[in-house]
Point group: D3
Chain length 209, copies 6
């Protein structure tokens, strides 16, 4: 049996190489501008195994007002996810804590229970779908739906979250409504909250007006 | 010049006809089950011009608590939109009224001002983008973002809305939070609203718990 | 109740902020090159409410050969639409005027009648779907289909158009066929128009050959 | 080394089998209704190698008014293409013949020259892009663009066409405009053709009005 | 302040309800046929919180030839994922075990290390990207790429996998090549494996020919 | 009848022109970085008919170890395909030759037989779908599936391939497994190949370890 011709190998390698830089993956160059489909691709020659690995997916510090922490591995943290439509986060909630009401516009969230007990739910205008979850349970929150997670058990609760987007973000309802300068009158009118309640939450979340 | 052969015509017509029933359009059969991409297609033989026209895109009755009305032309109202990624609604807001905080999960909204004056805005956690709009103005609310519209002028205000989905729905924040039976304790904990405020709005919007 | 820790707020804000610049919206930087998914995103720090609002969606001048005017609000006019899959135009047709045959490749058009009377239709090889429309009527023209609008009433007719693309363009049949230098022989052969007809329309629409 | 456990094999096989019926491929059941994403999937148990093969991709009869024939292998001819976003056709044009002006809404066409010489082109409102093609040449017609192919050489010309849709159809301009009953006045007004030209082509292509 | 009118509430509720059954989510009816976009939607009236929760995401039995187990939560296991573009699996590998070479056509895999040590990698024709992973590490395997996971540490290794598809499947290389009746000559010719090696693996994996 | 006003023409032309540069087509600027949706668009002013035509789609040299040649017309060869979701290749296999096992991640392949005889097939874990093909036959290989083509007849075999991606690449199994430095122990463990077989193929395909 003969040795495989080098030339042939090079031909196949080079055409696959050019492809790889376009579609097989597209590691984000976070210093370049982004586009509606994601960031520019880092040149293939600069890519190593490290681009596809993320370290530090560990518990965040839950000593805050929420008694909860969210550690994200989104494309801005983990450039290898660029263009691949997936990302993750780790959720830690101390006893009595919660992740308050929020949405991920355009991303579905899949929660994998790891430790403790979480009561979670999402809302539609006709129903609320909520459950108490234990290790071995999964729950899905369809894209764009308002949802929450509460530690309803003893001790710390931990869950891993997967998202159907490389950059799902998190729109926390209180930060949306109460951390800016939109007039409290408009907020009260369009939420049906009492004016005093709006003012109180604006004071808490750093808003004015 | 000779007459065009009938046979040839039929060949072209028949292959185009079968295509038309698949991809050119797919008028919804609302009595059949739906799928993630939309409803089943109505048979081509039953389709007429009327399937592509919607009547009654007129002002709704604004004599209600919101002093506002939304008349929708979504796929469930207008089956010709099935699979086409677009729909519309008409918004009428009486003086002093508003469309309260809401989202359209997965649909961008484009507002076309027709009459009067509307102050509208949408929220991100880092900023609120709001403007006062008059006839001749458009405003875009990117998909999934929490937003509101208030009649900030004299007399009735009217706008037409276009959506980047055949079925954008509307998730009204107060109906999400206060029209169901989720315990008021969880709602208060995950919204930072006072417990009394939650109970008051549950009473108003028909929720219990 | 304690004040919310600033540090916590900043953490949430910063991770949401980076997201916002990627996926929540992507206001076009029209001076940068574009891509198959749209233009580069303008830096988040430079974005204001004005990026999401368009002014001048008003009647165009209908004193031209078509007796009609189209005022567009596409991404090149309104950069906030970039990546959002929606845009709009205003159509004004003087009495006796029309918007001639055209297509929007890859965009569905949804027409909202505002004033007067328009007879509109689109073509398949097996049928023409046409209707006479009045205020309160909508009509949908599925993507890529050849269609027209004629003022069939008294006085001016006005409609608003929404498109399922940020940049639907308009391919007017006469400009396609008769404003270029392709040989009249080829145009005649592939349209079955008489040669003299082709020459006459080439003269009118600025073509040669 | 031990024999691989049958149980293990079955476990992997069964979960892959269920997947295969959903996403790996979805052979069309053409007797069931279709949806915006394509036809229902034929049950996996009934699928054989024959579902992925099409026979008869051969020259059609060019003895017709166009002196041309198009043999399609679209999803309605070849159910294995369902949901896969690709299809093909064979084009044969006798000397002096042509494929008249047409569009494929939503599908790009890639032409592979096999025999003879074809002059082909597509139109934008600002330019016509046309070329004379010989065996060994490819030409791409971006989605939705009006285009034509003319045999500009000696003897028969043959090309293979690939489309970026399982069901691209073909909207022939003359059949769109002249094979139906839309009034000739409207056709003339919206095409700028002479009324007599419209009547002449309506007579030829089977239209009335 | 008056009580909110019931009629108004019903209007909003009903139009949101119909939407919910179409786009907000589409729980799979696994007894109905599927389509290229997923299964038919279960009627909204039959949907409960249980549709969005999966139980039994626990370690599988690793006493098999691979010394490994994969427990899947794909749409066929967890109907609430239908149409949402996400799913999960749990991976347990006993000491010395591995998940052999495989691909997920059309789905990216995101691996979250939970326990032990795994050496994993994926292949391109120009490079292999592999790493040894410990708890707190993530690794991404871009869609369609051939990859493997080996327990390279002491004791059991566990990882959670998220996929960018509701039904990613798993195409195991040995089952593809050696569990069917394709002739060993063709397998040897197209893999460059020795004929005896092909026969040996066919015997092991249940193939003939 | 008057001459068409130049001003009007310019208005239509200019708004269509800007569109054309964005969505009608987007010829790749291969010197600029790429993105998940493809390369930057070449400026419209620099585009000519030549951007939409590819020359040299001819037989490659089959005098190599595979006795086969693949000539690609992917976006990196033919920039006009950028963003259009289609590409092509020409396959020539000398008598006795074959295209070895490979996948195209994310692209479906449609094979058009031109000359000779090819036996081709693709694999699922539950079945192999293979057929012997002659001129006039088509075969489809769904996206991401492992497949092969063997010249099973007399003389040279030729086929044209169309792909549902502008850049499908080709992941050849032997190059993936045996041309890199991953340890032979890991390759043997995760493929169930004998260690000696792995070493032999590594020597042949240029790998080490």
């Amino acid at each position: 049996m003969k040795i495989f011709p080098t030339l042939f190998l090079i031909t196949f390698l080079s055409f696959s190489t050019s492809y790889a830089s376009v579609n097989d993956f597209c590691v984000a160059d976070l210093k370049a501008p982004d586009t509606p489909s994601g960031y520019h691709c880092k040149p293939l020659a600069n890519i190593t195994s490290d681009d596809f690995v993320f370290h530090g997916f560990v518990a965040g510090d839950t000593k805050n007002s929420f008694n909860a922490a969210l550690s994200s591995a989104f494309v801005t943290d983990f450039p290898g996810l660029n263009g691949l439509g997936i990302s993750a986060a780790r959720l830690d909630i101390a006893e009595g804590g919660s992740i308050p009401m929020h949405t991920h516009p355009g991303a579905t969230e899949l929660l994998i229970m790891v430790q403790g007990e979480i009561t979670a739910g999402f809302f539609t205008t006709s129903a609320v779908f909520s459950k108490t979850l234990k290790p071995g349970d999964l729950m899905v929150f369809p894209q764009g739906m308002l949802h929450f997670q509460v530690n309803s058990g003893k001790g710390q609760a931990t869950a891993f979250l997967a998202f159907s987007s490389a950059n799902p973000g998190a729109q926390l309802l209180d930060l949306l409504l109460f951390s800016n300068n939109l007039s409290s009158e408009i907020v009260a009118q369009t939420t049906f909250l009492d004016f005093a309640q709006v003012k109180k939450l604006k004071a808490r979340f750093g808003g004015r007006g």
